[in-house]
């Protein structure tokens, strides 16, 4: 039977090639994801290893790990440096000052966007820097800039650059040098850098304190790294810690691993979607191919082949196909992963050397998934084929439709069970929030599976109805009938598209609803019409000079304007979000907050206000005392709770008097609210506020819509990411539709021949196939949109208590998905329609 399987495959090369594209795609994504993850890791590890190369031990601030979370740079005090330098076994120490700052380019914008510019002290030896032009900075007003900074900012030797940190005002520096890095690179990892004198770097980064970010310690001859670390440990003091260079690198590598893992998981997700969708495709192809071979199988059975042999021969075919396709997929994936690494490394890391790593798991996983999925998908059609009695198959060869009752009934039961679980979860009847949410989620999943099973049943009325759109001519009518001819086949083909569209529609609906809810809330509750703020996503929080507030208040039609400072402070031992403002009552009023207890009078220096749930969390009430230490603060302050706010996302947090701003991490305001007079021209006021902000590159005036857009910008990223997934599912869907149509066209060769013989034109034949294709694709998309909207609605309802109380339909996106489905249908129809039009009439009607 194996030989028969091989011969059968050779005879159906084209069909199998199409099927294998899906398998190749799935395997390739998996291999690429794993190769990319490993390669980026290797590349970044190499880059990391360059840092402090040659040093034996590194002294860092004691809380280096939590640094990135609260954004506060703790320094190593100068005394520690002195102590290290005088320790036995130390040859010399290179002290680094390094932290993110803001610098303004020649276009008036902040250089670097998401990734900020790094300030360093020239001569730190953290990296090998090579001066290309000019000289090193010698006075505090001079800087050298990296070649990448020069390119990005448009500023060069002899020009001045404006830079400032979270604590300093905008300052101008003369650029006296431009430098690159070892290996002729313009940047490390694509970042921009400015080198200051040590004193100036300390003014920017440590507010003028004589402190350092890292001490790179070089051992004297004969002293090992471990001995050095042991010798340094007792002298550096409690605020610092020491590690060997190896351990430091291992830690850096582990940090990178977190990031690369995220990228890798994202790609793996793509691979899994491709694989999941291809299961349908492969199963469908095998079903159709087997349907066309029922006579042959029946003949084999009649001459004595056993059921097992039939199954085995089909599985052998699947195994062979799966192996070939998975192998090709693995190869494509490895090549793609390597190429992608090079592309990413070159554009994001500006790395001179790309290390491609191909972990064996990449190839094994790709092969296992590709082969496994193919064999699994072929199993059901194979077993079904073996169950057909020989006589039946011979008789019913032309009529391959099997009843779909069982499928429909089980689908309905599953969908109903899912709906029930969702209903119970949504109405909070499952006992407990977690149970309710889990119930809703599981229910949503069941509904999805159930509807997928119901597609065959739904295809009858829906395909008919959708097809009506095209029924204005006869060819279209025939196409529509063909689409509805084999519900199972149509359903499975459309499912590939349905899955993708459901996914994006549900996500887009939920995110749009969240956005609409926030907007709705803003429109109702927030009194301020304009916000002065920067991008929500940035490594360095946007801030501005408080002096501009007077200019803003002076604008006609501005009733009030209040600036806000933020910090994350330690309050009674926990990290808390603290605001301060010159006008506590004003901020509460403009943000639409309300007081539960106390009044909105200015807070005294020893008073603090807080929202209800934050107070409850710490177990404090009116009149209680709390202790707070701010980011840059060296001592704790005691406050009395003087007001309690009703919970409200906009005003949640702690409020103190402005006296402590100098102890905040960012000593400048990060946001301002502007109340515009009723009836005033908002656009004119916006322009006037922007004028006042002309010298503040990081912030701008935003109206509600823009502000909400900024706050919810992450959702846009999420929607784009999900849409990429849809794109992939669509590619597989196109292949699926092509496959089904080609097989159907081949199956209907005689019919097509007859139609052409009795006078159907080539054009009509093409139209007929196109209508069938578009109808199938649209059917999948419409189902996907319907299920997606349903799930989105359910999720929105489940989250209604958390503030997502508006249901919004992403109409433009949905229209886009439907249009994309039509496009999928048209694309998929090209080859099958051409094939159908070329049908050789004589060949088709020649008798067997």
């Amino acid at each position: 039977m194996l030989r028969a399987a091989l011969k059968g495959m050779a005879a159906r090369k084209a069909r199998l090639a199409l099927t294998s594209i899906a398998i190749i795609l799935g395997s390739a994504f998996i291999a690429a994801a794993l190769v990319l993850t490993a390669s980026i890791q290797a590349t970044v590890d190499d880059l990391n290893a360059e840092a402090y190369a040659g040093a034996d031990a590194l002294v860092q601030p004691a809380d280096a790990e939590s640094r990135s979370e609260d954004l506060v740079q703790q320094g190593i005090p100068a005394e520690a440096l002195a102590a290290v330098e005088s320790t036995a076994g130390v040859d010399h120490v290179a002290a680094t000052v390094s932290w993110a700052i803001s610098a303004i380019g020649d276009n008036g914008k902040v250089v670097g966007g998401l990734a900020p510019t790094t300030a360093v002290n020239w001569g730190d030896e953290a990296r090998e820097r090579e001066l290309r032009e000019g000289r090193a900075p010698e006075t505090d007003g001079e800087v050298a800039v990296s070649a990448k900074f020069a390119a990005d900012s448009g500023l060069g030797l002899g020009e001045t650059v404006t830079a400032y940190s979270q604590t300093t005002d905008q300052t101008e520096y003369a650029i006296v040098g431009v430098y690159g890095y070892a290996g002729g690179r313009d940047s490390i990892s694509g970042g921009t850098e400015i080198a200051f004198t040590t004193a100036e770097a300390q003014r920017l980064v440590f507010d003028g304190e004589d402190a350092y970010s890292v001490l790179a310690v070089y051992a004297a001859d004969g002293t090992g790294a471990d001995d050095l670390v042991a010798a340094l440990e007792p002298v550096i003091g409690a605020e610092s810690q020491v590690t060997s260079w190896e351990d430091y690198n291992a830690e850096a590598s582990a940090q990178t691993a977190k990031l690369t893992k995220t990228i890798g998981n994202f790609l793996l997700g793509f691979g899994l979607v491709a694989v999941f969708v291809s299961v349908f495709l492969i199963a469908n192809t095998f079903s159709i191919v087997i349907a066309g071979r029922l006579k042959e199988i029946a003949m084999m059975r009649a001459i004595g082949a056993g059921r097992g042999q039939v199954v085995r021969s089909i599985l052998a075919e699947a195994l062979l196909l799966g192996t070939i396709a998975a192998a090709v997929g693995a190869a494509v994936g490895v090549a793609g992963g390597a190429g992608l690494t090079a592309a990413i490394a070159n554009s994001f890391f500006d790395a001179a050397q790309v290390s491609v790593a191909v972990p064996p798991t990449a190839i094994l996983a790709a092969l296992a998934v590709g082969i496994g999925v193919t064999v699994l998908a072929a199993l059901v059609p194979a077993v079904r084929a073996s169950r057909v009695p020989p006589v039946e198959a011979m008789r019913a060869a032309a009529k391959t439709d099997r009843p779909i009752t069982l499928l429909t009934v089980s689908g309905a039961i599953i969908a109903l069970a899912g709906g029930g679980a969702m209903a119970l979860g949504l109405t909070g009847n499952l006992g407990g929030d977690t149970a309710d949410l889990t119930g809703t989620a599981v229910g949503a999943g069941l509904v999805f599976v159930g509807v997928t099973m119901l597609t065959a049943w739904l295809s009858k009325p829906l395909v008919g109805a959708l097809g009506l759109i095209w029924s204005w001519n006869f060819a279209g009518k025939l196409g529509r009938r063909n689409a509805g001819r084999n519900p199972r086949r149509t359903a499975v083909t459309a499912s590939a598209l349905m899955i993708g569209v459901t996914l994006v529609t549900a996500t887009a609906t939920l995110l749009t609803s969240v956005k609409a809810s926030i907007e709705d809330y803003f429109g109702e509750a927030v009194k301020a019409e304009l916000f002065v703020t920067g991008p929500a996503v940035s490594e360095v929080p946007a801030s501005f000079d408080p002096a501009v507030m007077d200019d803003i208040r002076a604008i006609d039609d501005v009733d009030a304007a209040v600036e806000v400072y933020y910090d994350i402070a330690d309050i009674d031992g926990t990290d808390q979000y603290v605001n301060t403002t010159t006008d506590f009552g004003g901020i509460v009023d403009l943000f639409g907050g309300t007081l539960a207890e106390g009044d909105s009078d200015e807070l005294a220096d020893d008073e603090i206000a807080v929202n209800q749930s934050a107070a409850d969390e710490l177990g404090v009430g009116m009149g209680d005392i709390v202790t707070a230490t701010f980011s840059r603060g060296t001592e704790a302050h005691e406050f009395t709770v003087a007001a309690i706010l009703v919970d409200n996302e906009n005003t949640d947090g702690w409020y103190v008097a402005p006296a402590y701003v100098e102890e905040f991490y960012t000593t400048k305001p990060m946001m301002a609210l502007v109340d515009v007079a009723d009836g005033a021209d908002i656009d004119a006021v916006t322009a006037a506020v922007d004028d006042a902000l002309a010298d503040e590159p990081e912030v701008s005036a935003q109206n509600h819509e823009e502000f909400v857009g900024e706050v919810t910008v992450f959702f846009d990223f999420a929607i784009i990411a999900i849409q990429l997934l849809l794109g992939l599912a669509m590619i597989v869907a196109v292949i699926g539709v092509i496959n089904t149509l080609i097989l159907s066209v081949l199956e209907r060769t005689r019919e097509l021949g007859m139609l052409r013989a009795i006078g159907m034109t080539r054009g009509q034949t093409v139209r007929m196939v196109i209508v069938e294709s578009v109808t199938i694709a649209l059917f999948g998309a419409v189902l996907g949109v319907a299920v997606g909207l349903g799930l989105g609605w359910a999720l929105q309802n489940a989250l209604a208590d958390s503030g997502v109380d508006v249901f919004a339909v992403p109409t433009t996106l949905i229209a886009g998905y439907l249009a994309a489905a039509v496009l999928v249908g048209l694309l998929a129809a090209i080859a099958p329609a051409a094939r159908a039009a070329k049908t050789n009439i004589l060949g088709a009607i020649a008798y067997e």
Binding site: A398, K399, N473, F474, A475, K477, L478, R481, N482, G484, R485, R750, E751, M754, L755, R756, A757, I758, G759, M760, T761, R762, Q764, I841, L842, I845, A846, Y847
Partner: protein, 258 residues
């Protein structure tokens, strides 16, 4: 047994048709210099041994296949040299087909299958005419059925109705009774006969069955790509008798061009 129309014109004519398949050694000459005319309003059967070129001749006459040499006319239209578009239109408007099997579209009802050529042409079938055919074929109570719900004989009757629905110049039938039992076959043949007698339809039918040929007005015998006999007023006995001499006829024909 014929004469429905008083003035006989020619519905289909072929002049010096040659048709060969393949090249060189493997070349098979399917038609050798065939010239034949089919009068309108006549029922002609084409007979001959397997491989003698019956289907090839019919395909050439119907514009389904090209000829190497010679000309074909359907009515006044010269078929030879027409492009695909014109041929398609010709088949749609002037020719009806009945095949041995797989004649109907499974997605359409019997009635829709009958009016299929008109639908393809974007025209409306003449309802009175369609009704008359349906009545003659006794299909009135089967119109809303799909082909899978019809017996083989009923299916072939629907195919007959479809072939006649557009009042074509000529109906070509390639072994229309080949897949049917004797009774169903006889029903189909009786209808073909009726359509010639009552409606003046021209029919050219390829068959292996002498009793089927007996329904025709005339039988043309093909052997090895040549017309070897043209018999008027055939009966089953006369045809069987002729067929018994086929061995000689074939031998004679081969002798001629050897």
């Amino acid at each position: 047994m014929s004469t429905a129309s008083p003035v006989r014109t020619t519905a289909v004519s072929a002049e010096g048709l040659w048709k060969a398949y393949g090249m060189g050694e493997a070349q098979v000459v399917a038609l050798r210099d065939v010239s034949v005319e089919f009068a309108s309003g006549a029922f002609t059967a084409i007979m001959g041994p397997s491989g003698s070129g019956k289907s090839t001749l019919m395909h050439c006459l119907a514009g389904l296949d090209t000829t190497d040499r010679g000309t074909v006319h359907i009515g006044d239209t010269a078929v030879t040299g027409l492009g695909d578009k014109a041929l398609t239109k010709l088949r749609r408007d002037k020719i009806g087909f009945i095949f041995q099997q797989f004649n109907l579209l499974p997605t359409l009802t019997a009635e829709e299958n009958i009016t299929l050529p008109a639908a393809i042409a974007g025209a409306k079938a003449d309802p009175a005419w369609i009704n008359q055919i349906i009545k003659t074929l006794d299909l009135a109570d089967r119109l809303s059925h799909k082909p899978t719900e019809l017996s083989g004989g009923q299916q072939q009757r629907v195919a007959c109705a479809r072939a006649l629905a557009s009042r074509p110049e000529v109906v070509f039938a390639d072994e229309p009774t080949g897949n049917l039992d004797t009774r169903s076959g006889a029903e189909v043949l009786r209808f073909l006969r009726t359509s010639v007698d009552d409606f003046g339809q021209t029919i050219v039918m390829v068959t292996h069955d002498p009793s089927a040929a007996a329904y025709a007005d005339r039988v043309v015998f093909l052997a090895d790509g040549q017309i070897v006999e043209d018999m008027a007023e055939p009966t089953a006995d006369k045809v069987i008798d002729k067929m018994k001499h086929f061995e000689e006829l074939v031998a004679a024909a081969q002798g001629e061009h050897a």
